[in-house]
């Protein structure tokens, strides 16, 4: 959010500069006004696009390297962005099997024999804060941690 507000300020400045350039041309007043309106319209659009882009890139910025654990040990490590063909991984545990579906950029628990099915209801893995967990079958699907796998920080008051 902070980022997009800074960019708004920058393009306001740019707008002023273009505006004063126009003023130097000896053209009719209405033409100048029309031009100014178009410049404003375009710069507003540009700011909106930039804002949207920053917003989207912020959301999808965590690395796409995903780790699958069973019983606490790493089963497979996958870069979701390099997946070309959709595939399934089947893991069997105490309560039957879990079928994990992997496609380009996406991973989810397709089906599971566990009693609660929470892992399936979780849907796709979206962020590093909520891993896909199948507690009965001890399966965890999570993004690879970039910050040494820290789960929380004590003392940092927001």
């Amino acid at each position: 959010m902070k980022k997009s507000s800074t960019s708004t300020r920058n393009s306001d400045k740019q707008n002023d500069i273009i505006g004063s350039d126009l003023y130097d041309c000896s053209q009719t007043v209405s033409y100048k006004v029309k031009n100014r309106i178009w410049i404003i319209v375009f710069s507003v659009l540009a700011v909106l696009c930039l804002g949207a882009w920053l917003f989207i890139s912020n959301i999808s910025s965590p690395s796409k390297i995903v780790e699958i654990y069973q019983n606490g040990s790493l089963v497979e490590k996958i870069d979701l962005n390099s997946v070309t063909n959709e595939r399934e991984i089947t893991l069997s545990g105490e309560h039957g099997t879990n079928i994990i579906l992997i496609s380009n950029g996406h991973i989810k628990m397709k089906s599971a024999d566990c009693p609660d099915k929470l892992c399936v209801k979780h849907g796709e893995l979206k962020n590093s804060y909520s891993p896909i967990v199948c507690l009965p079958n001890k399966v965890v699907i999570k993004f690879e941690n970039s910050s040494d796998g820290v789960d929380a920080k004590a003392g940092a008051v927001r």
Partner: protein, 298 residues
């Protein structure tokens, strides 16, 4: 506040825990005009809820344990320093501090069956212990609801319930007091509360001098004990919260004495003004850092 809990009943459990935390905040906040503490500070004597009563009683015990370094009657002094919303931070006059100190001390607080009575010049601020109490109650609720794996973060206080879903220990970073976006090390824990008190958390500047919010009620001034932060690890959230303040006020040497007598109750990580790290020996196996640190023996 964030609560991440795992397991089939976790959704309802988290809701119940969040409700409890919100209720306790309403009850114990010194700033909220509808809170019991606010009313008690105004009326000086009243019947209070079970939670308020037990937390005040516990706070008096912790006052004794810490030789007064933890003191919930600090409100008049903190008020003079302007550490409440709506007030302006300022260095009070000597007279103002002396006056404010008149009602300070646990002996000015009397607890009977359901009532609490304060002396005329006494007011309470449970801010140094309320978050700990809230996370303790929330932990109980999560466990009662069958949650075996959860991590809570309550304004800088961290609470781990059980281990991670995969059975691994939780990693809780200790904030670097010089730059809280960094950390000085990580604690590997399960079923523990981790609470940090640091001078960096709230402070103001006047005439080039920094004044932080952790008041030493023996002097009425911000504690100047040579520490930048203290992180306490304990099974007991309320104790961890109170001790993080108390050890900060006491300083390293006096904290060592308290630790040698109570090493079964808590562990701690200290960061001194000259950026040295000290870790109690009961945390030796759980503390991981790339920086060098000294171990405090029992």
């Amino acid at each position: 506040m964030t609560i991440n809990a795992y397991g089939s009943k976790s959704e309802n459990a988290v809701k119940a825990a969040q409700n409890e935390i919100n209720e306790l905040d309403k009850l114990l906040s010194v700033q909220n005009k509808d809170s019991e503490i606010y009313k008690l500070n105004y009326k000086k004597s009243m019947t209070v809820s079970k939670d308020t009563h037990s937390l005040i009683t516990r706070s008096k015990e912790l006052y004794t344990l810490t030789d007064g370094a933890f003191d919930i009657s600090c409100e008049p002094v903190s008020r003079e320093w302007g550490f409440y919303s709506g007030l302006e931070n300022k260095v009070p006059s000597k007279e103002a501090i002396e006056n404010a100190l008149e009602g300070v001390g646990a002996d000015h607080i009397k607890t009977e069956d359901n009532t609490v009575t304060l002396d005329e010049n006494t007011s309470l601020d449970l801010g140094a212990v309320a978050k700990g109490y809230a996370s303790q109650k929330a932990t109980e609720i999560l466990k009662e609801n069958g949650v075996t794996s959860a991590l809570m973060s309550l304004g800088g206080n961290v609470r781990a319930v059980g281990t991670k879903p995969d059975g691994e220990l939780w990693s809780v970073a200790v904030a670097d007091p010089n730059d809280t976006s960094k950390s000085i090390g990580t604690l590997k824990i399960s079923d523990k509360a981790v609470v940090t008190s640091g001078s960096y958390q709230r402070y103001f500047e006047e005439n080039g001098q920094i004044y932080h919010h952790i008041i030493d009620t023996k002097t009425g001034y911000p504690a100047n004990s040579g520490l930048k932060s203290v992180t306490v690890v304990s099974d007991d959230d309320t104790l961890a919260d109170a001790l993080s303040t108390a050890l900060f006020v006491k300083g390293l040497e006096k904290s060592k004495e308290l630790y040698s007598k109570n090493s079964l109750l808590f562990g701690a990580v200290f960061i001194t003004d000259d950026n040295k790290i000290y870790v109690t020996d009961n945390l030796n196996d759980s503390f991981i850092s790339t920086q060098s640190y000294e171990v405090i023996d029992k």
